[in-house]
């Protein structure tokens, strides 16, 4: 009896044809791609739990997770700083600052990321280090011993992890600069004019009026680039930085278990990026809700 009342409370029953159409539409609208990814992940993790070679590969590779994650996080923070400064430079009235920023962005955008990483790690950073040392020696010679001594004592060998962070943040700084620039330009001219008309300086107007609105607008884009950066951090394995990609490569080469190594590696990245993009969607919804 209770069942019957429940059924009556439901929306009017469809006839069987309508029902089939409704089901079809539902099935078509379902996120099948997501179910597929989840299935792959579950399959892999079940393998990791039950299949000894998989388990071994996973335990070996996961040691690189902390390198992958910290490299990405630190590089992203620096990329944000570089990007913000460069983005401000791109829209600045100062000819020098503007051209310098544009030069940097165009250089980075015109070179493949892998090549950039080699270049920055093996040409750029040693060049800067040698330059600083030479400056230090010269400073000591002309009598500025404190700074000079400190500069000339810089160690030649910058750790590869540091080079990786510098390479990634230099590269992504240019990408983020374009995001910041677009974000700032999306704020109507009237905002700057209202702020300046109250006597605020350009930088006060930027800091209190333009940037808070611009950053809020570009938060989703920044999040997407964070995810891209997590993936691109795999490129620093060419510097022999022991991230998950490098470790998987080592493990595969040593054990010849290519399937176990690279499936595990791929699923690790996939898991991280999918979780991050869910987090991002959630944050975006929150922002939209708070939007006034």
């Amino acid at each position: 009896m209770a069942q019957l009342t429940n059924a009556n409370a439901k929306p009017p029953r469809r006839n069987s044809l309508e029902n089939r159409e409704y089901l079809k539409a539902k099935l078509r609208a379902a996120p099948w791609w997501l179910y597929a990814i989840i299935a792959i992940a579950i399959f892999t993790f079940v393998n990791i739990l039950t299949n000894i070679p998989f388990q071994k590969a996973f335990l070996f590779i996961k040691a690189g997770l902390s390198v992958t994650i910290t490299t990405t996080l630190i590089a992203f923070v620096f990329a944000l700083l570089i990007g913000l400064l460069t983005g401000l430079g791109r829209i600045s009235d100062n000819t020098f600052f503007k051209n310098l920023s544009t030069l940097y962005v165009e250089l980075i955008r015109g070179i493949p990321m892998l090549v950039l990483i080699f270049f920055i790690a093996f040409v750029g950073i040693p060049g800067v280090v040698n330059g600083l040392k030479a400056l230090g020696v010269w400073l000591v010679e002309i009598g500025v011993t404190d700074i000079g001594g400190w500069l000339s004592a810089i160690k030649n060998e910058v750790p590869m992890n540091t080079r990786a962070v510098i390479a990634l943040s230099t590269t992504y700084g240019a990408f983020l600069a374009e995001i910041f620039r677009a974000g700032i330009q999306s704020i109507g001219r009237g905002q700057m004019e209202a702020a300046r008309s109250q006597g605020m300086s350009y930088w006060q107007a930027m800091r209190y009026i333009i940037l808070p609105q611009a950053i809020r607008n570009v938060l989703p884009a920044l999040g997407n680039d964070f995810i891209s950066m997590l993936k691109d951090s795999s490129l620093v394995s060419v510097l022999a930085v022991r991230d998950i990609t490098q470790i998987a490569k080592l493990y595969a080469g040593r054990t010849f278990q290519y399937q176990e190594s690279y499936i595990t590696l791929a699923v690790l990245y996939l898991t991280m990026t999918i979780l991050l993009s869910f987090l991002l969607k959630y944050i975006e919804k929150r922002i939209q809700k708070n939007e006034r």
Binding site: G188, G190, Q191, E193, A194, A195, R196, S197, Q198, G199, M200, S201, Q204, Y208, I209, P212, Q213, R216, R292
Partner: protein, 247 residues
């Protein structure tokens, strides 16, 4: 130039590529005066206001505000702007800040007023424009008329010597125009020096000490409202008035 001149504009020219937006404008506004500027679209009304607080850089000519000649020094520009209130057609409130924060921010960071003083001042300006109860709202939660009144309060909170209004009611629905004009009329009665660009003839008649008619970057006619609306001298003015009054 005398000590009771608030604004003196002398032979001001502003050139944009392909157009003389201002073609030799001279105008004196005395302290406490309300000047209404009329003129067809593109005649240079906004450009004149924007040159006065240097949102637009003049091509030639000179401007004095309260006896001080305007220069290119950014220190001076910021200081003089902080003493001139500007009200825009589209309000330009800061959407990420509450009404109260909109009004206190510049007081705090430009005039270095203490937080308590800034809030106290903001609340009294909000009371003046009739919406103290909206202090904690965000701009988009207000009607257009209320937003423009907040914008006026924001400008007044800087204790300006001079208020500039650039078509403050043009973006408003008819039923909200009155509430904004009433606030402006109060300010005029209180003796605040104002330059107002508007198409509201009622306001011009009621509040203006002088009406200025501009066309093609020049001042064509300047007269008291009584003379201007009943007995204008120039043909251009007569034509403009007949067009406006027939609408």
């Amino acid at each position: 130039m005398s000590a009771d001149d608030m604004v003196v504009v002398q032979d001001l020219k502003k050139h944009f590529t392909g157009i003389e937006a201002l073609d030799g404008v001279s105008l004196t506004v005395k302290k406490g005066q309300v000047i209404v500027i009329l003129g067809p679209s593109g005649s240079g009304k906004s450009t004149l206001l924007r040159c006065v607080n240097q949102l637009e850089e003049k091509t030639s000519g000179d401007i004095w505000i309260d006896g001080e000649k305007l220069t290119h020094k950014s220190k001076q520009i910021d200081k003089i702007r902080s003493e001139i209130g500007m009200v825009f057609q589209h309000f330009n409130l800061y959407p990420h800040l509450t009404v109260l924060e909109n009004i206190t921010l510049a007081q705090r960071i430009v005039k270095k007023v203490s937080k308590e003083k800034a809030i106290e001042n903001a609340m009294s300006q909000l009371t003046r424009v009739g919406i103290p109860e909206k202090a904690s709202r965000y701009p988009t939660q207000l009607s257009g008329g209320q937003q423009q009144r907040v914008a006026i309060a924001r400008a007044l909170a800087m204790n300006p010597k001079l208020m500039l209004f650039d078509e403050p009611t043009s973006a408003l629905d008819p039923e909200m125009i009155k509430e904004v004009l009433e606030v402006m009329l109060d300010l005029a009665k209180a003796g605040i020096t104002m330059i107002v660009v508007t198409h509201e003839m009622g306001f011009a008649k009621a509040a203006a000490d002088e009406v200025v008619f501009m066309d093609k970057g020049q001042i064509v006619e300047k007269a008291s409202p009584a003379v201007f609306f009943t007995n204008p001298t120039h043909e251009r003015t007569k034509l403009f008035l007949s067009q406006i009054l027939n609408h």
